[in-house]
Amino acid sequence: MFTIALIIYLVFLTVYLAFFWALTYHLRNYYIPGERLPVIARALVLSMMLLAAFSVVAFMAVPWDTIPKPSSPSTSFTPPTL
């Protein structure tokens, strides 16, 4: 279960980091000369970084291997008695 969760989480984190990279790219390349970076931009960058770090910690805190596997329908099926 841990391996599956890790793969899904890494895909999610990669997409999220692509968004983060896009924000920093825009701020670096498309700023208007002489204009100050707005507070909301700093807050966005900081909160994105913090949430990514918290998510890594939260992911490691989950005991993935204790999650019960869903039972397959074929094993739990009991044929009707005639």
Binding site: F12, V15, Y16, F19, A22, L23, H26, N29, Y30, Y31, I32, P33, G34, E35, P38, I40, A41, L44, S47, M48, L51, A52, F54, S55, A58, F59, A61, V62, P63, T66, I67, P68
Partner: protein, 173 residues
């Protein structure tokens, strides 16, 4: 980055009115409250146990907030980088279509012929925002949409156009 010509100066940078970003701010804030309002910590431990439920809820809540933040980021980039830059020589129309698409058009300020203001709704009247429609000679006309204080922008464009046409640069056109 936008580069100016030699001797060109930025007069003002115009962004859309804050009402354009208010919707995403309110929507994302309400969505962010959903995991806190839902009684997950009450019901989920009954099915999978407290030891597993609490860290799982924490992790999924953080992931949910990350998704909301990414949505807000897209809305904010669209709002903040969608600008009109009025310089002493040009009007630059920077259109941030979405996160990875950007279009920049420029219009010579000396070619501005007619500037009009349109206040579309009652909300726009109350919050003092509207559209400025600019017609130019020989170039495509353009609109500056949903900006605060459109009357002042109109005055600025007309005045700057007259200043430019009276200058030696304007006579050359």
């Amino acid at each position: 980055m936008i580069t100016l010509r030699p001797q060109e100066e930025t007069i003002t940078v115009i962004r859309r009115h804050w009402i354009n970003i208010a919707g995403p701010i309110i929507g994302c804030s309400l969505l962010a409250l959903v995991p806190l309002v839902l009684p997950l910590t009450t019901y989920l431990p009954q099915f999978i146990g407290v030891e597993l439920a609490l860290p799982l809820i924490t992790f999924l809540t953080i992931c949910f907030w990350m998704v909301i933040l990414a949505f807000f980021l897209v809305a904010w980039v669209d709002y903040y980088f969608d600008t009109w830059i009025i310089t002493t020589e040009r009007v630059l129309d920077v259109n941030q279509v979405h996160l990875f698409r950007r279009e920049i058009a420029e219009y010579s300020i000396g070619r501005i012929q007619n500037v009009s203001v349109r206040i579309p709704t009652i909300v726009a009247t109350l919050l003092n925002y509207g559209n400025v429609e600019v017609e130019t000679a020989g170039e495509k006309s353009f609109d500056i949409t949903a900006i605060p204080k459109p009357e002042q922008v109109k005055e600025l464009l007309v005045r700057q156009s007259q200043v430019y046409q009276a200058s030696p640069f304007g006579h050359r056109e």
